[in-house]
C-alpha cells in the first residue's frame, strides 16, 4: 500500500488479512510523513488504509468501500489528476462518469463521511467544501480528537 507506483488499471487490491477489528479509514495523501503521523495518532481506534494518489484511492475504494467508516482526503493531492475536492464530488456521485479519466469511472457512491485534510485550512471555506460533499476540513497533521469530533458531528446530523 505504501508503494508510490499506482496499480495498473483494472487491478484489484487484494483484501487485507487479519484485521484487528479497528475501524478502517482510507487516507489519501501523497505525503509519506503526514501519513505516518496520522497512522500513529489515530491507531488507538482507527486502522489506516493508505493511498498516495487518486488512482490508488479509486482502486482501494472499489475493494474496501463497504469496510470503511470514513475517508480522509488531502485537498491538493499533488501529482494526481484529481484533487481532493474533485474526488469528493466523484465519490458523492456529482460528476458525470463520461467526464472522468478511465480509472475514476464507475466508482461506487460512498455514504461514509469524507473529511478533507490540508496544511492550509485557512485557505478553504468549510461551507464550500460541504457543498461539494465533504463533511469536514481538518488541519494536517490530523489527530484522533479532531477526526473523531468530525465523525461524531456527522453521526449526530444523521
Amino acid at each position: 500500500m505504501t508503494s508510490s507506483r499506482p496499480p495498473a488499471p483494472g487491478w484489484t487490491v487484494p483484501p487485507q488479512q487479519a484485521s484487528d477489528g479497528r475501524a478502517l479509514v482510507l487516507y489519501v495523501d501523497v505525503d509519506e510523513q503526514s501519513h505516518e503521523l496520522a497512522a500513529e495518532r489515530l491507531r488507538a481506534s482507527y486502522r489506516l488504509l493508505r493511498a498516495d494518489g487518486d488512482r490508488e484511492a479509486c482502486e482501494l475504494l472499489r475493494t474496501y468501500e463497504r469496510d470503511l467508516v470514513a475517508i480522509l482526503l488531502d485537498v491538493d493531492l499533488p501529482g494526481s489528476v484529481l484533487d481532493g475536492i474533485l474526488l469528493t464530488r466523484i465519490l458523492r456521485g456529482k460528476v458525470p462518469s463520461a467526464a472522468l479519466p478511465p480509472f475514476a469511472r464507475q466508482m461506487p457512491r460512498v455514504e461514509v463521511p469524507i473529511l478533507l485534510v490540508t496544511h492550509r485550512p485557512e485557505s478553504y471555506s468549510e461551507s464550500e467544501l460541504r457543498k461539494y460533499g465533504g463533511d469536514g476540513l481538518l488541519p494536517k497533521p490530523v489527530d484522533i480528537g479532531r477526526v473523531t469530533l468530525a465523525l461524531t458531528d456527522w453521526h449526530l446530523r444523521r
Binding site: A23, Y46, D143, R146, T148
Partner: protein
C-alpha cells in the same frame, strides 16, 4: 458547572463556530427536550449564529472533568479541541482518550457495539458501559472494545470514586476506609451488590456491637431485593434500553454504581410523580455510601510519657475562696456568656480614623545615643536571659564611668574594645594609673558590635556584653 449551551455561545463568540455547533448537537442528542439546545440548533441551522452567553463561562479543565463525569463526552471533546488550555499536555491526553472512546465502531461490528456507540453519543455512558459488560459475559470482547470498556470504567467509576474521596487539604492523610468499607470493597470492585451483602452480613456477625454494619447489611439486602424484583435486564441486541424509572436505577445497582442509583432514586422520590419506594431505596443507597466514605481519623495529642501523672495543680487558698463567691456564681461559664448586641451610634464607629495611617519619623538625638543603647541593652538582656552574664561582666570590669584619674585630657581618643582585648585594656590602665588591674576571665566574642560616639563610659556590645571605653591621652 457551566451549561454546554453557554459554552457553545462563548466559543461561537470566539470564532469557534464548528465546535460550538457540535456542542449544541451533542446537548440536543443527549436531551432532545432541552429548549435552549433546540433553539440554538435552530438558530445555527438558519444561519443566525449564537448570541453571547449571559454570563461568561469559565473554560478550564475542571469544567471538562465535570462534563466527563456527567457523560457529556461529545461536548467535552468539542471543548478540548476548540479551546487552548493552560495545561496542554493533560488536555491533549484527554482529547485523545475521548477521541478513542467516541470513535465509530468498525463497519461490520456486531449490533451490540453499534448500540454502544449510539448510547455514547447521546450521553448515556452508563448504559453504554452496561452494554459492553453484558456482552463481555457471553464472549470475549475484541481488543478495541475491551479498551473502550476500560476507558469507560476509568472515566465513570474510578474518576467518580476519586472525586468522592476528595477531602480538604490537610485532612486527606488522615482519611482512610473503615474496616467495614474494606470488607465491602472486594465485592463492590466485582460489581456485586449480592457479594457486598454477604460481606456485610459476615462483618455484622463478627462485630455484633457495630450498629453501622447491621444497617449496611439491611440496606444492601433491600437493594439486592430491588434488583431481583426489577428482574435482570437483558441488554443483548437491545435497540431500546430502559433508562427510566426503577428499572434504570436497578441497572445501576446491577453494576454496583451506587452514585448513579442514588441520583436516579433521588429524582424518582421528588415531585408529584414520585415513586413511593424510591425514598426507601435512596435511604438504603445512601446508608451504603456513607459506610464506604473515607473516615477522617480523630486528631489526637501524643501519648504522655511513661510515669507522667495527670495531676491538676491544686488551687491556691485565695482561688478556692473565689470559686464559691457570689461574683463567681454571677459570672457563669464562658459558654453562657452572651454579649448583648445593639445598633451602634454613628459616633461609635470612627471609621474615618482608619482611612489614613499617619507615620511620623522620630529622629534619635545623637546626644541620647548612649541612653538608648543602654535601654537597648536592657531589653536585649531581658529577652536573652543574659542578665547574669551582664552582672558578671560589670563586676569584672570595676571601673568608674569617669575619665581615668590622672590621665591628661586629650582631644584624641583611643577606643579599646575590652571584650575583644581585655589584656590590652588592662595594660593601658596599669600604665596610666600605675595600678594593677585584677585579671578577668576572657570574655566571649561579641555577637554584634556597636561603637558609640561617646568619648567615655560604658559601651554596649550587641545584646550580651558590656564593654568598657577607656579614654587615653596621647
Amino acid at each position: 458547572m457551566s451549561a454546554p449551551i453557554d459554552v457553545a455561545r462563548a466559543l461561537f463568540a470566539r470564532g469557534k463556530s464548528y465546535e460550538a455547533e457540535v456542542i449544541v448537537m451533542g446537548a440536543l442528542a443527549r436531551d432532545p427536550s432541552d429548549g435552549d439546545a433546540r433553539s440554538a440548533a435552530l438558530a445555527l441551522r438558519r444561519g443566525l449564529g449564537l448570541g453571547p452567553p449571559q454570563r461568561a463561562p469559565e473554560l478550564d479543565l475542571a469544567l471538562v472533568d465535570a462534563w466527563i463525569r456527567r457523560g457529556y463526552l461529545v461536548e467535552a471533546l468539542a471543548l478540548l479541541v476548540a479551546h487552548p488550555f493552560a495545561d496542554g499536555t493533560r488536555s491533549a491526553e484527554w482529547a485523545d482518550l475521548l477521541g478513542e472512546l467516541l470513535a465509530p465502531v468498525p463497519a461490520h461490528a456486531a449490533p451490540v457495539f453499534v448500540e454502544m456507540h449510539r448510547q455514547l453519543l447521546r450521553g448515556a455512558t452508563t448504559v453504554a458501559m452496561a452494554v459492553l459488560e453484558d456482552h463481555a459475559t457471553e464472549e470475549a470482547l475484541p481488543p478495541w472494545a475491551a479498551r473502550r470498556l476500560a476507558l469507560l470504567r476509568w472515566m465513570l467509576l474510578d474518576n467518580a470514586q476519586s472525586a468522592d474521596a476528595e477531602l480538604p487539604e490537610g485532612e486527606a492523610q488522615d482519611a482512610g476506609p473503615s474496616p467495614l468499607a474494606q470488607a465491602l470493597h472486594g465485592a463492590l470492585a466485582q460489581r456485586s451488590l449480592a457479594g457486598a451483602h454477604d460481606a456485610a452480613s459476615r462483618f455484622a456477625m463478627e462485630h455484633p456491637a457495630d450498629v453501622e454494619a447491621a444497617e449496611v447489611r439491611d440496606a444492601l439486602y433491600a437493594l439486592v431485593d430491588e434488583m431481583s424484583s426489577q428482574g435482570q435486564i437483558d441488554l443483548r441486541g437491545a435497540q431500546t434500553v430502559p433508562v427510566m424509572g426503577r428499572p434504570a436505577a436497578a441497572m445501576q445497582l446491577q453494576m454496583a454504581s451506587l452514585q448513579g442509583a442514588a441520583s436516579l432514586y433521588r429524582k424518582l422520590s421528588r415531585g408529584q410523580m414520585a415513586v413511593p419506594e424510591a425514598r426507601t431505596l435512596l435511604a438504603a443507597v445512601e446508608t451504603v455510601l456513607a459506610a464506604l466514605a473515607p473516615k477522617v481519623a480523630e486528631k489526637r495529642f501524643p501519648r504522655p510519657r511513661d510515669g507522667f501523672e495527670d495531676a491538676t495543680a491544686p488551687l491556691s487558698e485565695r482561688a478556692q475562696a473565689l470559686v464559691g463567691s457570689p461574683a463567681a456564681q454571677r459570672s457563669g461559664t464562658f459558654e453562657d456568656f452572651e454579649e448583648p448586641t445593639r445598633v451602634a451610634d454613628d459616633g461609635e464607629l470612627p471609621l474615618d480614623a482608619f482611612h489614613e495611617e499617619e507615620t511620623r519619623v522620630v529622629t534619635l538625638p545623637e546626644d541620647d545615643t548612649e541612653h538608648y543603647l543602654e535601654q537597648s541593652d536592657l531589653m536585649d538582656t531581658q529577652r536573652g536571659g543574659m542578665d547574669e552574664a551582664v552582672r558578671q561582666a560589670r563586676a569584672e570590669l570595676s571601673f568608674d564611668d569617669e575619665t581615668v584619674a590622672g590621665a591628661p585630657s586629650s582631644t584624641e581618643m583611643t577606643l579599646i574594645d575590652v571584650d575583644v582585648d581585655v589584656d590590652e585594656a588592662r595594660r593601658i590602665l596599669a600604665e596610666v594609673t600605675g595600678e594593677s588591674v585584677p585579671a578577668a576571665p576572657s570574655p566571649e566574642p561579641p555577637t554584634r558590635r556597636v561603637v558609640p560616639s561617646a568619648a567615655a563610659g560604658t559601651a554596649v556590645h550587641g545584646n550580651v556584653k558590656i564593654a568598657r571605653v577607656v579614654k587615653v591621652g596621647s
